[in-house]
Amino acid sequence: MGNTAYTAPTFSGDTTTTAEAEAADVALAASGDGRAFERLYRAHVARVHSLVRRMINADVADDVTQDVFIRAWTKLSTFRGEAAFGTWLHRLAVNVILGRRTVLGTERARLTSSDVALEQVPGRDAPGRNELTIDFEAAIERLPDGARDVFVLHDIAGYKHEEIAMLLGIVPGTSKSQLHHARMALRRQLDR
């Protein structure tokens, strides 16, 4: 019990009440309050689970999501309140996902050629494919890892290329290129 590393967050006069309640829960959880941590879990599990599902797959999403929150519990004392808790948790989740994916051995060759990307994602005119609408999430899952990571982090999660580059260990130019490859592959799935 006890948290010697806690740094009290500062609040502006117009800070949302929910944000303040969450900051209080972070402080309580950092001091060992399991119920406060459970509230944080319930507030953020959908976003984390969806991130895991999109960056790895649905089969291991539950397991990896648990890993994320277990890691978050052990790292709570390092949260300084400089960013929103959700932002901190999301970045932690990305690191857990990348580490887990390497262990799982599902890392595929990073995309280097736009032609390869276009061929790997079936177009709407592929044999037997008559749907007018597509399962967008399923199409994202079929992207090569490099393109998928950048697309999920940029277009879904809202990261900038500089942030993505730091998270993935690439340069921003590669991030931009991968994003373009992903979009070009997915555009073939759009209904008209």
Partner: protein
């Protein structure tokens, strides 16, 4: 499509081209229906991605997480009468304490830390809703009784300095959390989440004090 602007369309969609390049691309788009069509598609893909919802797992993962991090229920107090409070009682206690203190509420810490004072004027609706409840006194009495037992344990030397320090830090954190939660509820009294959060935080203070007094009593 092999023109040199094709690979830069995504940057244009995201507003990342320099002004000069963007203007040159726009001039190209005016005479290239292929690139124009691709641009429309890229914007649709990006918009589709932004519109995706986050969905929780089908199964509740919390029990497994709780087991892994060792979260257990608080031990019952060994000494003294045990008062339990429902969520509505805790909320009404909080609001009534605000009302009877003339618009300000505080939780004294007895630990040399300045009390947290919140300046709020309860609305007539809030005060009216709690006027008939008398639970504020029992909650305050329970807190006072437990706090008194803790201080006795401290004076009698049954709790060492390090333990006292940890307890005081945690109570300071909880008092601050209660004050913040009260402010949030007063600003948005209809929020079920904020009301539940405040009630649980107040309950947490009770349980922390019970645990501390139990610890002190066990060392007689």
């Amino acid at each position: 499509m092999t023109d040199h602007w094709a690979d830069r369309l995504s940057e244009y969609v995201d507003g990342e081209l320099r002004l000069q390049d963007a203007q040159a691309l726009e001039a190209h788009l005016a005479s290239c229906p292929t690139c124009k069509a691709v641009l429309v598609d890229l914007r649709r893909v990006s918009a589709r991605a932004r519109a995706l919802d986050d969905t929780p797992p089908v199964a509740d993962l919390w029990p497994g997480i709780a087991r892994a991090i060792g979260v257990v229920a608080a031990a019952p107090a060994r000494s003294g009468r045990r008062l339990t409070f429902s969520v509505p009682q805790l909320l009404a206690a909080s609001i009534t304490l605000i009302a009877v203190s003339g618009g300000a509420v505080w939780f004294t810490t007895h630990r040399g830390v300045p009390p947290t004072v919140i300046e709020h004027v309860p609305t007539a609706a809030v005060m009216g809703a709690t006027a008939s409840w008398t639970g504020a006194a029992p909650y305050a009495a329970a807190i006072a009784e437990l706090d008194s037992a803790l201080q006795e344990g401290r004076k009698a030397g049954r709790l060492d300095t390090a333990t006292i320090g940890v307890l005081e830090r945690n109570l300071t954190i909880i008092d601050s959390a209660i004050a913040q939660a009260q402010r949030a509820v007063l600003a948005d009294p209809g929020s079920a989440y904020l009301n539940q959060h405040l009630a649980e935080t107040m309950q947490r203070k009770l349980e922390l004090l019970r645990g501390a007094t139990s610890l002190a009593a066990s060392r007689t």
